[in-house]
Amino acid sequence: MSDGTGTTWTCYDAATMTAREIYGRVLAEMGKTNPKIVGLSADLAKSTSIAFFEKAHADRFFNVGIAEQNLMGVAAGMAKMGLIPFASTFAVFASMRAAEQVRTDICYQNLPVKIIATHGGISFGAAGTTHHCTEDIAIMRSFANMTVIVPADGTETANAVRACVDIPGPVYIRIGRGFEPPYYDSEDYGFKIGKAHTVRDGSDLAVITCGIGVLQSVEAARTLEEADGLSVRVVNMHTVKPLDRDAIMKAVLDTRRIITVEEHNVLSGLGSAVADVIAESGKGCAFRKLGLPDTYSEVGYPEDLYAHYKLDANGIVDTIREVMKIEFEEDEDWEDEV
């Protein structure tokens, strides 16, 4: 842990390291065996923790200064040369300041640029709306060829960063600022890009979530089991694109009640992606999306913001109780609903 390049941390370390710190260390480690990996940032090497890679591989790291459009264009050019660029900046700048470069230079040319965007959602709490990002999932999933991953915590970030190198095209990995408590205590749970991980089974309702929503939903499910005797499934949909349609439909058919939880505008994010699948299936179910209600975020500590937008365990419990009250046809005959 002391040389800034290793991944030989213990579970205890993972619990105390931020997701971006784990990202930086994993990338530095990967750089040792994969000489094609290059690192790029736009004056946020330290803030995004790609500085761990910079320290270990200074000859393969480039800081383009506060110039995010150039960051993405340069990354595209390097990928054109056969390299695998990892470009890191805050989610708000990666997805919006440089959106057209990401779309036209990287995605249109289907280049293997890996964008690791930190400070996603409202995780940068006190920094305010200019530095929050509740639009990036919507933007990034609308770019053809792009893979979009929102890991649950640092451990899953490590898995996602390692796995994304094998994707031949562009990947957007969105992580938070990093003080979010972890869910996973081991990397060995079969992480696979595009395959949802059901972290808790249940039959009364399913929560389909990503990012910080995973831990909060599991806590909500535990509470509801104890207090209300409810059986709540929690599906970690870490890959928002390509979406695991089978996991969604299984949840619909098994539970007939779905809520989605995401640190994003409720418009066009994970919830909308899930809604598309359900609507196209012709199988009805009770459905609610939790997220920011098409509004700009307030300033405050993240935990206060999560509570305000009902993205914490208490908020999820409340929403699940509401959805359980919805009168819904629960017979086994789907044909009359198609």
Partner: protein, 286 residues
């Protein structure tokens, strides 16, 4: 090294053919960015037929030189250049702009053989070229990256982000060429949004600037040779050109940024091109 008489003759003959190709493609396509195609075609000609280290039989050769046509709307000139250089047949360009053609108004590197970057959205190309030049350095490849920009394109802030990086990283393996034809869609550059003093701005950003006549093969050659010999600062070749060059009724005319030609105009255009090259033959070839 100065151009030999044979090289000069070959390059002008090639440009003459390409100007006629541009007219033909414009006619097949039902319209094209012909003005800016004619201003940049001599630059493309000398690069593709003298300087670029490429192999049309191995278009993905890793050690080849790269060229990013940042002013991607000049595809009407670029695509015929690639065809004449041997990447595909000139006949294939009859599909230009048509349903599912690899050739549209802006070049697509995933569809056009020999094209190193998809461009057309202005202000993107130089960043990609900077990435290619840096990438070549990381990989230890001794190749050159060329990037051609429009002058109106220099209104885009991202161009200056890329220039800053090119100077910062001392990318002497990058040759930037600005097609200074002085016109953009809505009028003269200095009326719409002035870019002058362009050379001073480029110098202030850490580049060395070589102004040349962008239609004179000897001047272009001299400028490119200087850029290839850059030791400290990367060089920008400021190529002074005429939009619509070679077709008298299009030269320096704002409306010919984009246009179409019917059979009569095509004939007039071809005649004008022939007339210009007769004069050139009498002059530079003497």
């Amino acid at each position: 090294m100065a151009l030999s008489k044979e090289e000069r003759q070959k390059l002008y003959a090639q440009a003459r053919q390409l100007r006629k190709d541009i007219v033909d493609v414009t006619s097949w396509a039902g319209g094209a960015h012909i003005g800016g195609g004619l201003s940049v075609v001599d630059i493309l000609t000398i690069l593709y037929f003298k300087y670029l280290n490429i192999d049309p039989t191995n278009p993905c050769w890793e050690d080849r030189d790269r060229l990013v046509l940042s002013k991607g709307h000049a595809a009407v000139a670029y695509v015929p250049v690639l065809a004449r250089r041997g990447f595909f047949s000139i006949e294939e360009m009859k599909t230009f702009n048509k349903f599912k053609s690899p050739f549209g108004m802006h070049p697509d590197s995933c569809k056009v053989t020999g094209c190193d970057a998809s461009t057309g959205s202005l202000g993107h190309g130089l960043s990609m070229a900077v990435g290619m030049a840096l990438g070549a350095r990381v990989l230890g490849k001794d190749l050159k990256v060329y990037c051609i920009l429009g002058d109106g394109e220099c209104n885009e802030g991202s161009v200056w982000e890329a220039l800053m990086a090119a100077a910062h990283y001392k990318l002497t393996n990058l040759v930037t060429i600005i097609d200074r034809n002085r016109l953009m869609i809505d009028g003269p550059t200095e009326t719409v949004m002035g870019v002058e003093p362009l050379a001073d701005k480029l110098k202030a950003f850490g580049m060395d600037v070589v102004p040349v006549n962008g239609h004179d093969m000897d001047a272009l050659s001299e400028g490119i040779e200087k850029a290839l010999g850059a030791k400290e600062k990367p060089i920008v070749i400021l190529a002074n050109t005429v939009k619509g060059k070679g077709i008298d009724f299009m030269e320096d005319q704002v409306p010919w940024h984009y246009g179409s030609v019917d059979a009569a105009l095509k004939e007039k255009a071809h005649a004008s091109i022939e007339k210009m090259y007769e004069a050139i033959l009498k002059g530079v070839m003497a």
